[in-house]
Amino acid sequence: MTMELLLFSIALSLAGAFSSLVLRRFETAAKFTATLFGASAALLALGAGFLGIFGLPDTLSFATPFSFASLSLLINPLSGLLIVVINLLALVAWLYGIGYLREYTGKGIGVLGLFMNLFIASMNLVVAADNVFWFLIFFEIMSLASYFLVIFDQKKASIKAGFLYLIMAHVGFFLIMIAFFVMSTFTGSFDFASFRETDFGKSAASLVFVLCFLGFGIKAGMVPLHSWLPKAHPAAPSHVSALMSGAMIKIGIFGILKVGLELLAGSGVELWWGIIVLIMGACSAVLGIAYALAESDIKRLLAYCSVENIGIIFMGVGITFVGVALQMPVIATLGLLAALFHLVNHALFKGLLFLGTGAVIHRTHTRDMGKLGGLVRTMPLTAFCFLIGSLAIAAVPPLNGFASEWFTFQSLISAALASSGIIKAVAAFALVALAITGGLAVLCFVKAFGVSFLGTARSEAAFKATEVPLSMKLPLVLLAVCCVCMGVGAPWVVPVVEGIAASVLIAPGIEAAAGMTLVNPDVGGAISTPLVAVLIVALVALPFLLRAVLARGRQATDSTKEPWACGYVPNTEMPMIAASFAAPAHMFLKPVYVVQAFLAAQQSTFHRLFKSTVKSAEKIEPLPDRYLVDSVTNFTTWLGRKAQAIEGGNVRVYLTYIILALIVLLIITALVGVGGAL
């Protein structure tokens, strides 16, 4: 049943893609067919995902003429969760697109429908694939489809961003491919099922893990491999950005979990894997949010925040590996619960924020926060939903971002309590990083919301903006409600996520929620988000009620006056803008922020230690760009130029490149397949 639903959904997506392409001359028709097929495909896949979470694992296998390429699919609770996340966002994105795509009339909506359907279908298939060959094929289709979505608006900046994305996606692809081929040389088979039972030995397992961590880390946008993300995500149309930031980068997380915990299950997990993931996560979180704070382009700000949240998810993943390596199943489950819960929550609030931003762009045609302002009066519903999203991402209780970050904190604390010095130190580092991240996230989203939506309108467009149509409001409201429900209703959601985590780890379940409380069963800490929610509403209503009673007959509220502003007459240069936040933050946080002002003045050893850390971090930041990205980019640009001399057109070069890549892939797989057979 599960698999049939998924296959049917894929078929609908393909039909949507095909019909959208055929109807591309009639844009409205193309839009509606693509949306209709896409949305129904998403609904079916949602069903498949939920069945995967709650039902038994379902598998399916097709034989193909090549023995190495038998198409096998598997839906277990983990892939079910990913499918739910992907398709929930896909559903709202389709709905949102009905209104949003009006802006793109005449720019090839039919082609957009084609690639978006392909993109969503390939994401579903990557998550379900249970064979190396098909996993890589679907992964590649996913990257290519999203690449075409990134360059969709054909502006110079997006094409440049798209190219960088294409390169990075393929570097990641290459690393993952090598890792899988290493594994398949051991087993002589391309089926994931065979990997699960094999002991690859310490060194081979570690090699595979590191390759996959880097490869999937690129897809996830982990620091220092994140440079493509803040360029590529904002370039795409906003509902595609929501899908990319909410769903696609999660496939990177999924990949690391799948490789580390499932495929390498036969070889055992090393402790240092967890420590590396934890440290990288902590760095991603702090640096991601610090860079976000410096942005004045609202979509780039959100994209950098994805880097931050990936870091937070990685912290949970790191704890999971530490727990598995040290054979502490409770801590491993707790860490994985935190990671998966934050994965879902991030998809919800990041989707919400990107769609809210899209609504603003739809009305004002600018992404520069300096040109917005005052939108809370002209677009009240969008503003309110954006506020909910901002509160959720800033981890304000009782919303969902807080609930999952609480579990991240608790899993770090549990791991530290249960183990020796090195884990304690690493956990302390991660905790402090998470605390700084929390503080900066508040600053960042007060900025994002305050500068864009509050105060006075700073441009004609912002002044004249109107509320978006219903088809765009509905997705916003839906996601905002989800954010609130997943936070307030966390005690009822957590057992489900905990069940998924336990099934991945093949560990006994833990009691992570009891009644109305969230519990850390290891340490015994407990909180109750529903109680917090009820009390806050009641206690906030209290002063309003009291005033309503006491103020009878007194002067009513007056809100018609100019700001007093210390007696000055306010003018357009005075209001708070994006730079007002960046400047003081920069003062403290330059260059990896936070530490520098302190470092410059102090001379003792302790400070010098900090200094060298910052210096090396500074040096390391552009390194991957210089050596990893630039060299490959330069080489490919050079190759492209050569090819251009022969071919002429840009698109053709890309297509040649893609086909060549696929052919090379086929040849390699065939060779390895033959080698394995011999």
Binding site: V376, L391, F409, A416, L431, T557, P570, F581
Partner: protein, 308 residues
């Protein structure tokens, strides 16, 4: 019974809030050899403010009107969970230290938003400073708490206080040092001189509150005093829990209340002295102090890992 205690605590904080700010004003006047206002002046002020008209600027939205009530409500909520008279928390699920740290974020978020919302740039600058202070203080608080959690094996304020109160911690030196770091962080969080950057009068004229008036201003002023009470009570509950009631009997509770009031009076006295003998820190130098506190907390962590 416990619910009653929680409500009693919240009411206590509410009633004592103007006394805290009033006595600080009175002491400040004495330091400057002025006659100064009576200690109860802030009660009169607040009553008067409640009778005034509530003004909001033309450009402000619902956030400007919501913030005072939200600030007030969150402070009441937090105070319900802090162990005050008793060693244990009246509402256990509200006493998680991480929850508390993040509950403090809620009013801070809206505090800064409301400042921006007012449309006055002076208020906005104050709001941003308030947030920056949060960014700089939180790492120190978190690290100090982490050391204490490692030593007491719990994230619940009540249980942390229990362990420290009965000297049952594994690493007493580290906990003591963490307590020092936490006290420093709490002092910064109080928003008193030299760290009253958000309300720095000469530069910003009451900072983020410059556009508030009437009942809204009264609510925010009370909430700010309540926040000071909360931050100090938090420190007391975890690091100096001695004397608080271990059971729910009337004499124990009475003693607990008396000891608590004494401890708080002492702490506020010390804080006010510090406040009156220092000059305001320059914003750009604020990082020195906060990172020094992180340094102390890091030292505590090293000791904790070494096991002393």
């Amino acid at each position: 019974m416990l619910i009653l205690l929680a409500c009693l605590q919240a009411a206590l904080a509410l009633l004592a809030a103007p006394l805290v700010s009033g006595s600080a004003r009175w002491m400040r006047a004495k330091f400057q050899t002025r006659k100064g206002p009576p200690i109860l002046q802030d009660y009169y002020d607040i009553i008067k403010l409640f009778k005034r008209q509530d003004l909001h600027t033309r450009d402000s939205s619902f956030i400007h009107k919501l913030m005072p009530a939200l600030f007030f409500g969150t402070m009441m909520l937090i105070f319900m969970g802090v162990p005050v008279i008793t060693r244990f928390s009246p509402v256990t699920v509200l006493a998680d230290v991480i929850l508390l740290l993040y509950l403090l974020v809620l009013p801070r978020f809206f505090f800064a938003l409301a400042a921006i919302d007012s449309g006055s740039s002076y208020a906005g600058v104050g709001g941003i400073r308030e947030l920056l202070l949060g960014v700089l203080v939180e790492p120190a608080m978190m690290l100090a708490l982490f050391v204490t959690i490692l030593a007491t094996g719990s994230t619940n304020m009540g249980e942390m206080g229990m362990a420290i109160g009965s000297f049952a911690t594994e690493t007493p030196v580290a906990v003591a040092l963490a307590g020092v770091a936490f006290a420093c962080a709490c002092y910064i969080e109080l928003g008193k001189l030299p760290f009253d950057l958000a309300e720095a009068e000469q530069e910003l004229q009451d900072g983020p509150l410059s556009e508030y008036s009437g009942p809204s201003l009264a609510l925010v002023k009370m909430s700010m005093s309540m926040k000071q009470i909360i931050v100090l009570s938090w420190f007391v509950a975890i690091f100096v829990p001695f004397g608080s009631a271990l059971e729910l009997s009337l004499p124990a509770l009475a003693l607990g209340l008396g000891v608590y009031l004494l401890k708080m009076a002492g702490l506020f006295f010390v804080c006010t002295i510090i406040e009156n003998v220092v000059a305001r820190v320059r914003l750009s130098l604020l990082g020195h102090q906060t990172w020094a506190v992180v340094g102390i907390a890091a030292m505590a962590l090293v000791l904790s890992i070494l096991g002393v």
